[in-house]
Point group: C2
Chain length 221, copies 2
Amino acid sequence: MTGTATRPAADQPQAAPTGGPTGAGDLLALDPAAQDLLFRAARTANTFTDEPVTDAQVRAIHDLVRYGPTALNAQPLRILLLRSPAARARLLPHVSRGNRAKTAAAPLVAVLAADVDFHERLPELFPHQPRARDWLGDRAERVAQARFNATLQIGYLVVGVRAAGLAAGPMAGFDPVGVRQEFFPDGRHEVLLLMNIGRPGPHAWHDRLPRLDAAEVITTL
Amino acid sequence: MTGTATRPAADQPQAAPTGGPTGAGDLLALDPAAQDLLFRAARTANTFTDEPVTDAQVRAIHDLVRYGPTALNAQPLRILLLRSPAARARLLPHVSRGNRAKTAAAPLVAVLAADVDFHERLPELFPHQPRARDWLGDRAERVAQARFNATLQIGYLVVGVRAAGLAAGPMAGFDPVGVRQEFFPDGRHEVLLLMNIGRPGPHAWHDRLPRLDAAEVITTL
């Protein structure tokens, strides 16, 4: 994921340590090719080819990742796709300088937002608990829940874009209030992240940055 | 994911519409078996067998999902595994009544937290921008970034648990302040979610709840 800093580009993505015969990947049920596609060889792309990302591809991605779990099955993530040059032009002033050129050039840009009034759908989405909607009368609590669950769904979406053989370019370097005011003037959405989507172009990748080891992340009691 | 409500259990997981020959899964590069393993046939489990989840399995899951992207490569997710009966007993009073029995019985329970002082690691994790650490002097801003990026990582982790052939049981029904005070008295962590992990046991699944269609989630400009 990219913020506002710039880094030297690499011509080829660096492979992560293999999950193959001698690696930890042997303990996984997911086959090594899929491990590479989704995580080990997948990278945040910073350039893209001109090949379009079709609506059918986006629907296929959604049809896969919509099965990921969310609390109360609330599914608050909403996806605004910017295809037209006019729509793209409305976004760019709110994007940090370092992200602007690639966002202008990407085949597709997704604005990822959370629907703060997701509770209105709960009678359909969580039907065995008819009172669930009423638990969420407090807007501040809904904002927190919407942000949390939509962010989980963005995690699934990154995996889904890669499952389609595409590269995701998630970007946190933008003004979320400005984007909200521009594209969601109804006030019922919170903008969480931007994501460029496409096939990687020339010099698409920076060098792979270090990852924390299990011992630095996991504690057992 | 489960909150506090109870629902009737199903003996077998309901299959989601196939991603097969006539489905949208054809547009994906990920093979259909992997689509099923990670999303279409994967379900939030509510019961588990006694089969242990080993430390080696957890390390293999982490070794896969740690390559998922985070802003500034910050990787703020921290995983506290509760194995011992004594540790589990400290958690249960903070878990909602409906989640308590399954959390007591699960082979492994993970407390998923965000390290609010993640910026201390940025000189190693984002070395090309030595000032990144200094951008994050404001604690409130760090809390927001830590929560967001650790939640993205939880999305990857759900996929990773399933990639190991295990079932995840994420739970939002607990008192995050109580769990934080019990397990993270240093005050530098925010507790985001609990997750039971194991092999599904008898009556592990509720019926699959409805998912939103693409037309309800995706807008194009």
